[in-house]
């Protein structure tokens, strides 16, 4: 058995893999972190981005003269608007999200469980009072989007982030459809986790070894398809 010191996919490549899950003609919300990078891979495609702050058709990050202080994304970065954009308030934005109008949300997470629960908003290590953390739009996206994909590192140091039961406070229960990490693509099914794709050269046993929940290997298991 070899030691796993493998690099895995870069964040950019994880985002690229995630971008392949986006169908043309759909509305997508991208969370903070790796999901934000996904936007670089869909420029020019027939995909409309929704932003929590109250916008449809968010364009790429604004630079130089494009920067408008009244036009930011949920990470407070200046962005641009594409032709046909529209603005609305956060009540409407949350109606769009919670009401099931967004086709796909791609989010980050601390942990994902084999049941499709995930935890993303409260790191207990920060030591805040009970139940206090940065929720943002994550819980609404989790319950409202028609499909939820989590993109994240496969492990935090040596600790698996894909687990049997989340130990961090949950964002939502049973909502994750697909997990895309630097090492694998894993589908959440009613029968547990199915390993669909792996990092080139890694065996399924090696992936299982860094995963905290049991993986069933898909019949069509293959190398991650970029």
């Amino acid at each position: 058995m070899r030691t796993l010191t493998i690099e895995g996919l870069s964040r950019e490549m994880v985002a690229l893999r995630a971008s392949k899950e986006i169908h043309d003609g759909t509305y997508v919300n991208l969370g903070i972190g790796i999901p934000t990078i996904v936007s670089n891979w869909i420029e020019g495609r027939d995909v409309i981005l929704q932003a929590e702050i109250g916008m449809l058709k968010t364009g790429p990050l604004a630079t130089g003269d494009q920067i408008d202080q009244d036009l930011i994304n949920a990470s407070c970065e200046p962005v641009t608007e594409l032709s046909g954009a529209c603005y609305f308030d956060i009540v409407e934005s949350m109606s769009i999200i919670r009401g099931g109008h967004v086709d796909l949300a791609i989010l980050g997470a601390f942990q994902v469980s084999e049941k499709g629960d995930f935890a993303s908003w409260l790191n207990p290590d920060r030591g805040y009072p009970h139940g206090v953390g940065n929720i943002g739009g994550s819980m609404d996206l989790a319950v409202g989007a028609k499909r939820v994909i989590i993109t994240m590192e496969h492990t935090a140091g040596n600790r698996p982030k894909i687990v049997k039961e989340c130990t961090y406070p949950l964002t939502a229960r049973g909502v994750v459809d697909l997990i895309i990490t630097d090492l694998a693509v894993i589908q959440v099914t009613p029968h547990g986790l199915v390993l669909k794709e792996g990092y080139p050269g890694l065996t399924t046993d090696e992936i299982q070894a860094v995963t905290g929940a049991r993986l069933t290997v898909a019949q069509d298991f293959k190398e991650i398809d970029l």
């Binding site: 970065e77 956060i90 940065n134």
Partner: protein
């Protein structure tokens, strides 16, 4: 029906200690900077502040903390994303030591609670937060096979909001993503004070493009447009 006040200070002068005050804006975008500074100058204490975010962006909000005017915060994203930056931030320190109480809600629940307050709905069942810490101590109920959490209305005593354009009767129009929380806070509060970059006469805003009908707004103050560099701090 002239609702124009001569200055931010006069427009907030009757906010008492202990009041529940909603502050519009999302990080640095669409924040009621002048009115918040006036509230800091007013010096009233024991405020409950309803706001998206404390740590990030808008520094004038931190004046309220530095002045020890804040008893409690109701919000959605209170802290810096970076643990290191947060640890150095007075607000987070006060929260950690129990000097400021914090209540957080999912973004959709946060705004829906205020909307309920403004629209006369006492409570509502939302699927958001079911099965999480957010639902602790709250009633839940199954609708259509799915667990929902009962959340109640939130009605601020005052809302301080920032608009791009406003007429003298309080009709407001926001610009791009600066609309964010301002619209719902304006409709929710008992008394809404709007600072506007452009103050115009009735009839000068397209009636089909008014975002906040004047009936929700009690006071309007003209302010200069600031130059802000968007930054999450």
């Amino acid at each position: 029906m002239n609702k124009v006040y001569p200055s931010p200070d006069e427009a907030v002068s009757d906010i008492p200690s202990g009041a529940v005050v909603a502050l519009g804006g999302f990080f640095t975008c669409g924040t009621p900077t002048y009115l918040t500074k006036a509230l800091a100058r007013l010096g009233v204490q024991d405020l409950t502040i309803i706001i998206q975010s404390f740590g990030v962006g808008a520094t004038e909000v931190n004046e309220l903390v530095e002045n020890r005017q804040v008893k409690k915060v109701i919000g959605n994203y209170p802290f810096y994303r970076s643990a290191e930056r947060g640890a150095q931030h007075l607000f987070e320190q006060l929260v950690r030591f129990g000097k400021i109480a914090v209540e957080v809600y999912p973004m959709g629940t946060f705004v829906e609670k205020m909307r309920a307050g403004g629209t006369g709905i006492a409570a509502f069942y939302t699927p958001t937060g079911a099965g999480t810490l957010v639902a602790e101590g709250k009633e839940t109920r199954i609708f259509n096979g799915r667990e929902h959490v009962l959340e109640t209305a939130l009605k601020p005593d005052f809302a301080l909001v920032h608009a791009w354009k406003g007429d003298t009767e309080g009709n407001l129009m926001y610009r791009k993503t600066a609309r964010n929380y301002n619209a719902v806070m304006a409709m929710s509060a008992k008394v809404t004070v709007a600072e506007v970059e452009q103050l115009v006469n009735p009839g000068e805003i397209n009636p089909d493009c008014v975002h906040t009908p004047g009936i929700y707004v009690q006071r309007v103050v003209k302010v200069d447009r600031l130059n802000i560099t968007p930054s999450a701090g």
